[in-house]
């Protein structure tokens, strides 16, 4: 399982309404539906991807995250998920504010251009960095709006978004909860996963548990404490 999927799976409340933007063949949505019984909806750019999702029983609309987020009503979802593609959007700022129009909380992951490997590649070779997370050369990369961790936190502040949780992800290793404002993290986080909400109007649902990525045991999806599953 992709490490970001594993983390998103931990974040999402059972039975939540989830919009997955750029859901590809529906792997994450299917996982969330199976493990967390979410009411899922996807947005996917390729009709082939949509066909795959539809065959999995998922509800997926073909569209472009840059253009078609207006398909979804305000506050229609508990979570909007945008995994590793914000930097590919034409207007990331607009997309980010759209996510929090549509959903109470947004789950967004971005590669950190401030990571030491990236900085070192640019400093030592003087050429656009190509790393494991950003493997494409500059002329063919889909990543047109790269940012550092500090840049992203700055944009959240500009948009009045609250960072409810942040974790650093790096290939194969378990996610590590981080303070995204700590200068050291801007050097060592390869990819960062954020849980965001609107600052002015905090989420009305259950308050997000603190220390989301820590060792604290999360409520088990099979038996949420408040509502026990009933057998008919």
């Amino acid at each position: 399982m992709r490490e970001d999927f594993a983390e998103i799976l931990k974040l999402v409340r059972p039975s939540a309404r989830v919009l997955d933007i750029g859901c590809e063949d529906g792997e994450l949505l299917e996982l969330l539906t199976r493990e967390k019984q979410v009411d899922g909806q996807g947005l996917e750019i390729s009709p082939e991807g949509v066909a795959h999702c539809v065959a999995r029983g998922l509800s997926v609309v073909q569209g472009d995250g840059d253009r078609d987020l207006d398909h979804f009503p305000s506050r229609g979802f508990d979570y909007a998920i945008l995994s590793k593609t914000l930097q590919q959007m034409r207007d990331p700022k607009h997309v980010l504010s759209e996510l929090l129009r549509i959903a109470e909380q947004a789950v967004v992951s971005v590669p950190n251009f401030g990571h030491w490997k990236v900085r070192w590649a640019l400093l030592s070779r003087g050429r656009m960095p190509e790393t494991g997370v950003l493997p494409e050369p500059w002329y063919s990369t889909p990543n047109i709006h790269l940012c550092t961790l500090r840049d992203f936190v700055g944009l959240c502040d500009t948009l009045g978004l609250r960072i409810d949780a942040c974790a650093s992800l790096s290939g194969g290793k378990p996610a590590r909860p981080i303070d995204p404002r700590a200068p050291i993290e801007n050097w060592r986080a390869e990819t960062a996963l954020f849980l965001l909400s609107r600052r002015a109007e905090p989420s009305t649902g259950a308050a997000p548990p603190q220390n989301l990525f820590g060792e604290v045991e999360l409520p088990r999806p099979e038996a949420p404490p408040a509502r026990k599953p009933r057998r008919r």
């Binding site: 009709p47 999702c53 539809v54 065959a55 999995r56 029983g57 997926v60 398909h71 009503p73 229609g76």
Partner: protein, 385 residues
């Protein structure tokens, strides 16, 4: 070439004319009533013991109930033959597939060519104006009469897609899923304009006789053929026409006259003349009128999402074709936006093709795959084997 016998050989095919007693009229949107109501229909496959596998396929403007069996007049295969059959998206071994001729039609369902019981004469223009909702109300009467409480799916393209949307608005509790292909939630000014050209062509034919041509023993064949020719252009994309015909000539050299020099002319003439053999001119007037009157949001204060609020438990699959300029993708996106706004579970894909509106009858692998995937997943959700 695929060696495929007629579908009747492998599967159970039923149908005929369902006659409702005069005491059960069809109540129309106009306020009029239609009685006695007759519905021409076909079925493929068998209803299962739980009565959960019924699929209603709604036909388009010029279609009829002969979905997947040889047409009694033209002798051609059913209009959606390639979608119906063992292993195909609509599988008579798993689904009980129903297709009805719409109200106002001319293939067995009460329409302007039917005999008005009050006068003993064909209705002609005394036939009441009908709507898409009236077509759906008649279908709902038939489904109920068949003892089917819930349809597993309502599927349609073009006008059939509009009927499917109307089902979702009017009878959400009676349907499990909806497939709406290359349709719109309302007719645009351009759509109405093209239909008006067709209607004027029919009414300009002296043989139309003010609509009473059947009593006069003639048929406005010229007018209906021209109507069909004009409409047929809207079903094809410019690219498809160009690829198919270009400027190719029928014979060597120009005729220096007004014969069908170009292949595209000859093709359109053929479309026109073959249509009049199987279609009633007044039916064409009434059905195009029903399409023009169609505006699903109108009954909901202009808010399309309101039409779907009661359909939150219905699963939707909306499909469009990239080169369809009759009901373009933007129309389907409006439907999707409204469905999302209403909180309905919706899938949508725009199929990339240059075949225009008619792609829905043609070989589009992604259309097949999406439809098969959707129906398969919904069948699982519905508990069909």
């Amino acid at each position: 070439m695929t060696a495929q016998g007629p579908i009747q050989a492998d599967i159970e095919v039923g149908g005929g004319t369902w006659r409702f007693p005069a005491s059960r009229p069809l109540r129309l949107d106009s306020g009029a009533q239609l009685a006695p109501l007759e519905i021409g229909y076909k079925t493929y496959g068998a209803l299962n013991a739980d009565r959960t596998n019924a699929v209603l396929v709604c036909h388009a403007l010029s279609g009829d109930q002969h979905l997947a069996s040889t047409h009694p007049i033209t002798g051609k295969p059913g209009w959606w033959d390639r979608f119906v059959g063992p292993g195909k998206p609509l599988d008579p071994e798993r689904h009980f597939i129903i297709c009805t001729n719409v109200v106002g039609g001319c293939m067995g369902t009460t329409g302007p060519a039917s005999i008005d019981a009050r006068t003993g004469q064909p209705y002609g223009l005394s036939f009441p104006v009908i709507t898409i909702a009236d077509m759906v109300r008649a279908q709902a009467m038939l489904i109920e009469a068949m003892g089917i409480e819930t349809l597993f799916a309502v599927i349609g393209g073009s006008m059939g897609g509009m009927q499917a949307l109307q089902w979702a608005a009017d009878y959400p509790e009676k349907i499990f899923s909806v497939v709406c292909i290359a349709a719109a939630a309302r007719h645009s000014a351009q759509n109405i304009a093209f239909h008006e050209v067709g209607r004027q062509a029919i009414m300009a034919d002296p043989n139309w006789c003010g609509g009473a041509y059947l009593a006069a023993g003639v048929r406005p064949e010229k007018g209906l053929a021209v109507a069909r020719m004009a409409a047929h252009i809207t079903y094809l994309s410019e690219a498809a026409l160009q690829r198919k015909f270009g400027r190719e000539l029928q014979r060597d050299g120009l005729s220096w006259g007004f014969d069908a020099d170009f292949q595209v002319e000859s093709y359109l003439r053929h479309q026109g003349t073959s249509f009049v053999d199987r279609f009633d001119a007044n039916s064409y007037l009434y059905i195009t009128r029903a399409l023009d009157y169609f505006d699903l949001a109108a009954g909901y204060g202009g808010v399309l999402a309101q039409a779907f609020v009661r359909a939150r438990d219905v699963k939707f699959c909306v499909l469009s074709f990239s080169s369809d300029w009759l009901y373009p993708t933007s129309e389907s996106r409006d439907i999707v936006r409204a469905l999302n706004g209403a909180g309905c579970r919706t899938s949508f894909a725009e199929i990339e093709t240059d075949k225009g509106h008619d792609a829905f009858f043609l070989d589009e692998p992604l259309l097949d795959a999406t439809l098969q995937g959707f129906l398969g997943a919904q069948a699982q959700a519905r508990g069909l084997s």
